[in-house]
Subunit: 348 residues, 2 copies
DNA sequence: CTGAAAGCGCTAACAC
DNA sequence: GTGTTAGCGCTTTCAG
């Protein structure tokens, strides 16, 4: 019945192997692993010794089958966007992996057809491959949330339910408005008054939210915003041309941008016109990308607390999966501002 | 015995549900899924109809337990390196996820203690949570490969077995020397003759390999390399100061760098000295990072064919896991050069 | 070609 | 406290 578990044994030891070695029943070994307090101290010690000697670890598939849980959380990732400075998702993935590990979960990555927002979710759900999902692309109607909800699938969204504020699912988000307000206040404090905004097209809820932060900060000081805002696609060239137009027509002394990608476009325009970023015109981006960190001059940027997002996401997930289910309402986190040279000196 | 699988049913349908609905035995359903050719056409159709109606998909845990396979491949990821332009790993992850999906695999991400290169591997292996690993950090002795080999754990390395060329495990790598030779030839063709190298410390095998490409290209044209090379840490400031020293002491007209991070340092120095990158001094980096793509002037850079790496990795993995095991020797892929403005104009 | 039986390794429920 | 029994959902024999 038993097998000789040598160092190079190809099949790992099982519960039965440990039980035999420790001279107890299989159930006792199971208890030693899952409910150690149920065992008498000496039995526990004997079992643990056997476990250590054999290098036993419960077989995942068997445990999953029995407990109807995989301890896996599914995360769908999109292809990288080349030519932009966007890497939020990658930073988040790292944080999520770290945090889930501490909670006993692993992250299962899956790809989806770009056009099919639901692809991948369904299969994993029906085959009970994951315990829960982390949904990240919550822009544009967020069909995943609605769909997952209807399937009673546990999930936590990174991103608010913009289209449906009454949605009851768990979510974690970063307050983009607060971030842009922070950025704008920072420039206002330096003495700027004509601060322009370059953001995304109006159908982006995230973009409008970030814009609101700039708008709010300007109005709080009684400064006009008319003619100072531009909404374009999230590309470097769009940012560049938007900056050109704004400089010509509104003569801003500073720019706040919805992304580092757009901010890079602004930097390009400044250079072309012989303006020194920071000294002549201040620029702040959003996302604290690697680009912001290594470019010259360093690009001040709003940084999302992704580590904290991951912590809250996992916390919410544990609530969802726990017994009893602990409802976790939405959590809104505040970003910080990484100040670099593109903010320029004090102008007062 | 059976359950009513309504739309909102919380437990997915099982083989038994499908069997009952189709009026066949459970085994027949299993065959319909795994060996369709064994069934008579009409039976198959009836079963498939039932499968479709119920939205049946085999339970992963049960299948995994039975087949002793998880269809998961483990990939350990390191925390992001902020302040650098390195994002190769993230790009590779995306490619790997895409490619594995086509092969029927999902990617399981796990974190490891920075100091403990083996952490995480052992647990996943012993709990049979993954079928194979993709090992990426093969620099510095690569203890994972040796260890995984000794445990007879299937794995494919992205990176050559530098320290042990006779290692027999499967690996895929990108020819860094060829990439740097490409970059150097590109500059030579433009008319440069004093081309400097900024690379990593001598204990980096990857760094020495890349350097060899530069060296080879120079010598192929009978050009001297003495005094033109510098080896530093992989940071922007190191690249910057190395560039300064080289400019002072060796008067190069172009730089080839082991990374975009170092190349960014060079760009900083050029700007400080009023030299125009591209026009006055050419620069080529390595990795085609987002930074290279959005910075001004665009940074020419050697691009690793990570999509292709992923394809080869998965191919090797399928060989390892297939029956019979098909040995897959090492595969060395050639990078390409992304030419941007930092290469400068033709000088002839 | 289809069905019946067995068992992968584990844990929940119950007896002792 | 510890052992016995049963079964999670699937696939792999082996009969019919």
């Amino acid at each position: 019945m038993s097998r000789i578990p040598g160092r190079l044994s190809t099949t790992p030891p099982t519960l039965a192997d440990v039980a035999e070695r420790a001279g107890v029943s299989r159930q006792t070994v199971s208890n030693a692993v899952n409910n150690p307090d149920l065992l008498r101290a000496d039995t526990l010690a004997r079992v643990q010794e056997a476990i250590a000697e054999l290098g036993y670890l419960p077989n995942r598939a068997a445990r999953n089958l029995r407990t109807r849980a995989s301890h896996l959380i599914g995360l769908r990732i999109q292809p990288v966007q080349e030519g932009t400075a966007n890497a939020t998702m990658d930073r988040f993935v790292h944080s999520l992996v770290e945090t889930s590990r501490e909670a006993g979960y692993h992250v299962l990555l899956f790809a989806g057809e770009p056009g099919e927002p639901l692809a991948g979710y369904d299969d994993l759900l029906r085959s009970t491959a994951v315990d829960a999902f982390v949904v990240t692309d919550t822009y544009l109607g967020n069909p995943q949330a609605t769909w997952l909800d209807s399937r009673r699938a546990p999930f936590v969204a990174f991103g608010r339910p913009w289209e449906n504020p009454s949605a009851t699912h768990a979510w974690v988000d970063v307050d983009g408005a607060a971030g842009c307000q922070l950025a704008t206040d920072h420039l206002l404090d330096k003495g700027h008054e004509r601060i322009a905004w370059i953001g995304w097209r109006k159908d982006s809820r995230i973009g409008e939210d970030r814009r609101a932060g700039w708008h709010r900060a300007m109005h709080a000081r009684g400064l006009p915003t008319t003619g100072l805002a531009s909404r374009v696609e999230d590309t470097v060239v769009s940012g560049r041309s938007a900056a050109g137009v704004l400089l010509d027509e509104a003569r801003p002394t500073a720019f706040v941008c919805a992304s580092d990608t757009l901010a890079m476009g602004v930097l390009h325009t400044l250079h072309e016109r012989g303006l020194r970023a920071g000294d002549d015109v201040a620029v702040v981006g959003f996302d604290d990308s690697q680009v912001a960190q290594v470019v010259r001059p360093g690009l001040s940027s709003v940084r999302q607390p992704l580590e904290q997002v991951a912590v809250e996401v996992v916390k919410a997930m544990e609530g969802l999966l726990g017994h009893p289910r602990v409802a976790h309402p939405g959590v809104l986190l505040t970003p910080s501002l990484e100040v670099r040279d593109s903010s320029g000196p004090d102008r007062r």
